[in-house]
């Protein structure tokens, strides 16, 4: 069967990934995803940096979700140290995380429009994303890489003078986003319906998270299942669709923007006064896990400490790492021209994902049998 390889360097892809497609005519029969082109050794680097410095390192894992990785990391460290975060800091964390979700989903919609040739949607969604980035510059000092998270709280306060400006932007978005969603449904609905279908069974067996899973009818959301920051006190819904196709994913994301605006309005109204950062002395030896709902799905950071001010082990599992294999179930059966939007539909972030590259220097391939695997596992335990 003829094979078509897209990437790793391709003008339509922002990040390096190789998609190998086996085609019959124009129909995709099988797909194979290769990652590992943008591995930067962040986990190893973080073992030589203090907790304060690692926060800035993990912020640079991804340019789009540059809040969720530091948030996860500081939550993991707070888990080890048993640090109680002040209420105001929790609310500020929620506000930054939700603003990030809005800008990430709008960015995704713009890229989807760009891939499909719907440039009006691309221009409109990026036009609506701009005021959100202006808020980030006002509040945090930068459009990206906000540098807001710190172990024990947040680094910067949101002064009350900025709150009306944020609410004004939210009003603007509340008016524009439903219109944009309607426009997407009417102009791209036919194009996106019934392509890249992921069934509920596959979504479970591939362990997908985030909008990819929610579009198949799975009501999973870290904000509800493992509440963190100020989410337990705020009211919101999990946006669900049952179809599992690309249109359902788009609708889930648009619905999440509306939910985020709803969360932000509550958080800004109930912003409690007080300290923004808890003081702590030492981080004791131990293990901790930080969870957060990134715009793409569930993000997990595992940190092990040994009593020093640096992590002994830092494991990062970004949402794309679990969503990406689901493409192998989504791609077969579709037309070749739909391959791009299906790859883009999970909102992949390869910079987040590439953690470990296995390089076999001799180029040998080996199949490990079950007995061998069991033996290895039993020997390791001894």
């Amino acid at each position: 069967m003829p094979e078509i390889t897209i990437g790793p360097v391709h003008p339509l892809l922002d990040e390096p990934v190789a998609v190998k497609l086996e085609v019959e005519g124009k129909t995709i029969k099988a797909a194979e995803i290769q990652i590992g082109f943008i591995h930067r050794g962040i986990e190893k680097l973080s073992e030589r940096m203090t907790f304060e410095q690692v926060t800035f390192l993990v912020e640079r894992i991804c340019g789009i979700c540059s809040n969720v990785h530091p948030l996860c990391f500081v939550q993991a460290v707070e888990d080890i140290g048993g640090i109680e975060v002040p209420e105001r800091a929790k609310y500020i964390r929620t506000i930054i995380a939700e603003l990030e979700r809005i800008h990430s989903h709008l960015l995704w919609l713009g890229i989807a429009g760009h891939i499909l040739g719907a440039h009006e949607i691309f221009l409109k969604s990026w036009r609506y994303r701009e005021p959100v980035l202006d808020i980030f510059e006002l509040v945090c000092g930068n459009r990206q890489n906000y540098a807001m998270m710190a172990v024990g709280g947040v680094r910067k306060d949101i002064p009350s003078a900025y709150v009306p400006k944020i609410i004004e932007t939210l009003k603007f978005l509340k008016e524009k986003v439903p219109k944009l969603a309607e426009e997407v449904r009417s102009s791209l609905g036919k194009r996106l319906r019934d392509i890249g279908v992921l069934t509920k069974e596959n979504a479970i067996s591939y362990c997908t998270t985030g909008p990819t899973a929610r579009a198949t009818g799975l009501p999973i959301d870290t904000r509800k299942n493992h509440p963190y920051a100020a989410y337990p006190e705020l009211e919101f819904e999990i946006v669900n669709r049952d179809e599992g196709d690309v249109l359902a994913q788009t609708e889930v994301r648009m619905g999440e923007i509306i939910q985020s605006i709803h969360i932000l309005e509550q958080a800004l109204r109930n912003l409690p006064p007080g300290e923004i950062r808890a003081e702590f002395k030492n981080i004791p030896p131990g293990e901790g896990i930080g969870l957060a709902e990134a715009p793409r799905g569930e993000d997990i950071h595992y940190v092990r400490t040994n009593g020093t001010n640096m992590p002994e082990r830092h494991k990062i599992r970004a949402p794309t790492y679990v969503n990406l294999p689901a493409l192998e179930a989504m791609l077969p059966g579709n037309k070749l021209e739909d391959a791009f939007i299906i790859v883009a539909s999970i909102d992949p972030c390869f910079s987040c994902t590439d953690r470990v590259t296995i390089v076999n220097e001799r180029g040998e391939e080996r199949v490990v049998s079950e007995e061998e695997l069991l033996r290895m596992s039993r020997n390791a335990a001894l």
Binding site: M49, T50, E52, Q53, F56, L57, R60, E137, L138, V139, C140, G141, N142, N145, A147, R155
Partner: protein
């Protein structure tokens, strides 16, 4: 008059962000040369070098990620985040340097810290600074050395151990 000002000679100026924009950090005159900014800098863009009787603190904009940790760690307002930015830096623009006078141990010659840092410590400690023979030198207004010697913590401890502090003090 060129339409686009792309070079410095044509009148190009680094773009200014909003008031709250986190741009390039700049050293201020208030800098005491303690090196706290270099300790916390995540990409190690700030380096402290002790050369002769000078401490040179170097900030490399090519490495700087504009996180503002240096400004928040500074005990005085010695380094500040400014709204100025320019991503592309080259040549002389790439590094800014601040120099402060260094104090060395009179016994072993190891650098201790800067004069300004000592004076800042004395200011903070008040009368408590008379408990440390090295600090007494900076606590008194006179320039004369007096009977006290400037010693690094290691030498001070060694001398205390060897003769009950007689030589360390005088």
């Amino acid at each position: 008059m060129p339409l686009f000002k792309l070079r410095k000679e044509e009148g190009w100026e680094p773009p200014l962000g909003g008031e709250t924009y986190r741009g390039r950090p700049q050293f201020q005159d208030a800098c005491i040369g303690c090196g706290a900014c270099a300790e916390v800098c995540p990409p190690k863009a700030i380096q402290v070098k002790d050369q002769g009787d000078e401490r040179v603190i170097e900030l490399d904009f090519g490495k700087c990620i504009r996180c503002g940790q240096c400004a928040s760690a500074c005990p005085v307002e010695g380094i500040k985040v400014t709204p100025t930015d320019g991503v592309f830096v080259r040549g002389e623009e790439r590094k800014i340097v601040v120099k402060r006078k260094l104090v060395r141990c009179e016994n072993c010659g190891q650098p201790i810290t800067t004069i300004d840092h000592f004076r800042w410590m004395v200011e903070r400690l008040g009368t408590l600074s008379f408990s440390n023979p090295t600090l007494i030198r900076f606590a008194t207004a006179t320039d004369s050395a007096g009977p006290f010697r400037i010693l690094c913590p290691r030498c001070r401890r060694l001398e205390y151990l060897s003769d009950h502090g007689w030589r360390a003090k005088y």
